[in-house]
């Protein structure tokens, strides 16, 4: 199962980004193969519509869970109809490595 985590950098030490649509990078983590992939977010500086565009990007990778600090109002019904689980974690000091460790426990 694949999990997307929003991060503000492209390393394991970077922190969880509190925004979903305009986050710096998406970390795609595969819980079975333990593979980690960093996707730069092309919608980082978008004026509007960053959320739905990011959903499309993440959904094209067959992600089943998304971990982020906050989800916008346009995204929630989209993810609900795609049956992707949203996980809201309001801890900006958490690094990607810590979150992946939590998922592996």
């Amino acid at each position: 199962m694949k999990v997307a985590i929003t991060s503000n950098g492209n390393s394991l030490e970077s922190k969880l980004d509190q925004r979903f649509g305009r986050c710096g990078y998406f970390t795609i983590y595969d819980t079975e193969t333990k593979g980690i992939e960093f996707l730069p977010n092309p919608n980082k500086d978008a004026q509007e519509g960053a959320g739905p565009a990011s959903v499309q990007l993440v959904a094209s990778r067959n992600v089943q869970k998304i971990i982020s600090g906050e989800f916008g109002i346009k995204i929630k019904p989209l993810l609900d109809s795609l049956k992707i689980q949203m996980i809201v974690l309001k801890q900006p000091e958490k690094s990607i490595r810590e979150i992946i460790d939590m998922l592996n426990n």
């Binding site: 929630k76 609900d80 689980q85 996980i87 974690l89 939590m102």
Partner: protein
């Protein structure tokens, strides 16, 4: 003046099938026309006739007003009756709807998460696998648009006990905690009213 904006109907899950087909059609040589049952009408039918909720409770779940829910429901019954009488097939699709899910919070890691698939019950936090989770209900009763409380009072006719009326629950189903009799709405013309 622009018309009042259309309120999207909230539905919980898609139906397990996409329609019904009649069989044994004697006329038309087996050709069947179809009736399009909208998803919102399916949901109203499911809530009212399968879950046995009353129209007010169902209207809150679908995020519309009670009269709107009743309109959707009667349309659903009309369409199904047409399909049964005229031997048409029913196709469940369309309608202006959105999906919503329940939210949970985890007491162990402090995260919030939703349940995208309502068929399965969530027992543990998806992040830390802790089972210390809580059903998180945001306080959005006021923004739902549906009237959720009123100033009416239920009264017990035998002992005079009064309690605020609970919306969606008929007064005659309420049992007086003092004497165990059925209660009635205060101020309505009941035979033995005060």
């Amino acid at each position: 003046m622009s018309p009042r904006p259309f309120r999207l109907r909230k539905i919980s899950n898609l139906p397990v099938i996409s329609g019904f087909k009649p069989y044994g059609n004697k006329k038309n040589g087996g050709k069947t026309e179809s009736v399009f049952l909208h998803l919102e009408e399916y949901e109203a039918l499911r809530l009212c006739d399968y879950e046995m909720l009353n129209h007010h409770q169902a209207s809150i779940l679908m995020a519309v007003s009670r009269p709107t829910l009743t309109r959707i429901y009667s349309k659903a019954r009309q369409k199904i009756a047409v399909a049964l009488v005229q031997g048409k097939q029913i196709i469940i699709e369309g309608g202006k709807i959105y999906f919503d899910s329940e939210w949970y919070s985890c007491k162990n890691c402090g995260c919030f998460f939703n349940n995208p698939d309502k068929q399965e019950e969530i027992k543990e936090c998806p992040l830390c696998k802790s089972s210390n989770i809580l059903n998180y209900e945001p306080d959005n009763e006021e923004t739902d648009g549906a009237l959720t409380r009123c100033m009416d009072i239920c009264i017990c006719l035998s002992c005079g006990f009064e309690t605020p009326h609970r919306f969606g629950c008929p007064c005659k189903d309420e049992i007086c905690p003092e004497c165990g009799a059925n209660m009635v709405r205060k101020g309505t013309p009941h035979k033995r009213n005060f």
